[in-house]
């Protein structure tokens, strides 16, 4: 019979109070852990997706929208740009690598991205099966797409018009899966990659007319429009000059992923901050609640504690017994809170519409250790006063008195 067993017995005697206190702590910790997990994941995603992209050039409009649509594949594109202008841009000496994107179709909500082989270099893509797309209507699909749509190499599917799941299918042409990407841990897991020619083909009135363009991709682009260009600079010096050049001397706009992500984060930052303080308030209330219940139960427990002293328990042991009760509540609460956080995030991820920014509960951050530590701290704060009180209990006096 050790004091751990004794304190759990004491706690289980007051089930409702114990339950209430655990729930309070769990909620505070749960909200905080959701915040930590979600903001870290979003931050990581933003970073890993835009890691090697210095600039996005697209049609004029909201720069944030351009970034969201071209890098994160969340929002709708701002419009199209003439392929010829894009071609000129690609030849600019300041540009090390330029990746053209043609968006507009989807398969079961997964975006079909028309691009060229430089895309694989930009994201460092690797295949797990098959090969990369080489001709029109070849498609290489991301690992998540393969997993969820059950498409295999050699399967055919129809793209649908628009960027979200719709029934407006392009019935006349079917894509064929030529390869499946290895999981990359970024947005490409959720994309279907093909060449730009395929995207054009989907949208033309008479497919036969353009057969002759097959051989020369560059020529084809020349007469057409694309959605945007992902650009890597040759030297960091271009950061200042290049965007200004694009914005002033062309009909297109340049948007920097780093700047726009920072702007996006500052927008949602207020909400995160508010929630954080709300959770801290809940934790403070839980500390108060644990304190009050321990403090109140001291009156009732004075006899029990005096008996224990009388039976040979030292003052330190009684002190630890009361401390342990507080700590058991708050640490249990903290652990349950973490479980709530992870489960809630898994649920959020499960019901999230956009698969590109999906959150997962199977993800751990070191901040969670601080949450456990804060559970310990709350336990100590709440139980230290009642525990010190036990030092003052006069055993002889308490036990001689009638109840």
């Amino acid at each position: 019979m050790n004091i751990l067993k004794l304190s759990t017995r004491n706690l289980s005697r007051n089930k409702l109070t114990t339950f209430l206190n655990i729930i309070l702590v769990a909620f505070g910790v749960g909200i905080l852990s959701i915040l930590f997990l979600a903001s870290t994941q979003i931050g990581n995603k933003l970073e890993s997706n835009s890691k090697d992209i210095d600039l996005v050039v697209g049609a004029k409009g909201s720069p944030l929208q351009l970034i969201l649509s071209s890098i994160y594949h969340i929002d709708f594109p701002t419009g199209n740009i003439p392929a010829k202008d894009a071609q000129d841009m690609m030849q600019n000496p300041m540009v090390k690598r330029a990746v053209p994107l043609a968006l507009g179709d989807n398969y079961q909500g997964y975006r079909i991205v028309g691009t060229d082989s430089s895309f694989t270099g930009l994201y460092g893509l690797k295949l797990s099966q098959g090969k990369f797309w080489s001709k029109d209507l070849d498609a290489t699909i991301g690992s998540t797409v393969a997993l969820e749509s059950k498409l295999k190499v050699g399967d055919k599917f129809f793209g649908a018009h628009g960027l979200s799941n719709s029934s407006d299918e392009h019935r006349q042409h079917a894509y064929m899966v030529t390869g499946i990407l290895a999981p990359q841990g970024n947005v490409t897991d959720n994309l279907i990659l093909t060449n730009i020619g395929s995207v054009y083909k989907m949208h033309e009135a008479n497919p036969a007319e353009h057969e002759q363009h097959h051989s020369d991709e560059a020529k084809e682009i020349n007469n057409r429009e694309i959605t945007s260009l992902l650009i890597q600079y040759r030297s960091p010096m271009s950061v200042v000059v290049f965007p200004r050049m694009v914005n002033q001397s062309t009909n297109m706009q340049a948007a920097s992923p780093a700047m726009e992500s920072a702007r996006l984060f500052s927008l949602i930052g207020v909400g995160i901050e508010t929630l954080k303080w709300f959770a801290i308030l809940i934790m403070a209330i839980s500390a108060l609640s644990v304190f009050i219940s321990l403090f109140n139960s001291m009156k009732e427990k004075k006899y029990d504690l005096a008996i224990m002293r009388c039976l040979g328990a030292s003052k330190l042991k009684i002190f630890l017994l009361v401390m342990l009760e507080g700590l058991l509540i708050t640490v249990t609460g903290a652990i349950i809170g973490l479980v709530i956080g992870h489960v809630a995030l898994s649920l959020i991820g499960h019901f999230q519409e956009s698969s590109q920014a999906r959150l997962t509960g199977i993800f751990f951050v070191s901040d969670e250790l601080y949450l456990i530590a804060s559970g310990l701290a709350i336990g100590v704060i709440a139980s230290i006063i009642p525990a010190i009180q036990t030092y003052r209990v006069d055993i002889a006096n308490t036990l001689s008195k009638d109840k």
């Binding site: 017995r9 008996i307 040979g312 036990l399 001689s400």
Partner: protein
């Protein structure tokens, strides 16, 4: 063997209580008599190591009780002294068996499950090991508290008005059990009482 020497205690604003010297040999059974307010409970608490006297000494088996450190005194009390109160107090969240077991572990001794059951059996509580304090009658609880007091084979068993809240039958029962159990556990026995039902059961008397 217990000896008290020139013991004095004083509460706030009342004249000091002086206790005559007393020597209790092993296995002796004593009555502690006195009108209420004469300091019976005070003396018992002092002997039990629960209340530090203003002056004098309590020597139990050659150890001066109040010469020990606080921690050592707690342990010493748990091992050497069995205490039975006027009203039996049990830890509410534990059943009777665990309440007795906890007395052993608090005293720093191994829990002897067989002895617990044997004691409960000999006190007529064989089926009550898993019951909680609130499920037992006062008489049953008082008997259970005898089991708890005896579990660590103490050198002395101290009972403070053990029968005052019991009816005749239970009082008779409890005092019989106290004397026989103390004898079979080879413990000295001190019973403080003003209960006539108890007075004629023990021969040695210490008067306050």
């Amino acid at each position: 063997m217990i000896k008290i020497q020139s013991l004095v205690h004083q509460y706030h604003n009342v004249p000091p209580l002086q206790f005559p010297d007393w020597e209790i040999k092993d296995r002796e059974q004593w009555l502690l008599l006195g009108s209420s307010g004469s300091g019976k409970s005070t003396l018992l608490n002092i002997i039990a190591g629960l209340l530090k006297p203003k002056g004098g000494e309590v020597i139990l088996d050659g150890t001066s009780v109040y010469g020990l450190s606080l921690r050592a005194m707690d342990q010493f009390r748990g091992q050497k002294i069995g205490i039975i109160f006027q009203r039996p107090h049990f830890i509410k969240s534990l059943n009777i068996y665990d309440n007795i077991a906890v007395a052993s572990s608090f005293a720093g001794l191994p829990v002897d499950g067989k002895r617990i059951l044997m004691l409960l059996d000999s006190l007529g509580l064989a089926g009550k090991a898993k019951s909680y304090a609130e499920e037992l009658s006062q008489g049953q609880l008082q008997r259970a508290s005898i089991a708890r007091a005896l579990i660590n084979r103490p050198s002395v068993l101290i009972a403070d008005e053990p029968t005052s809240s019991l009816d005749d039958e239970n009082a008779e029962n409890v005092i019989t059990l106290l004397t026989t159990q103390a004898a079979s556990s080879e413990a000295s026995l001190i019973v403080a009482t003003h209960d006539k039902r108890v007075r004629n059961r023990l021969s040695k008397e210490y008067l306050l």
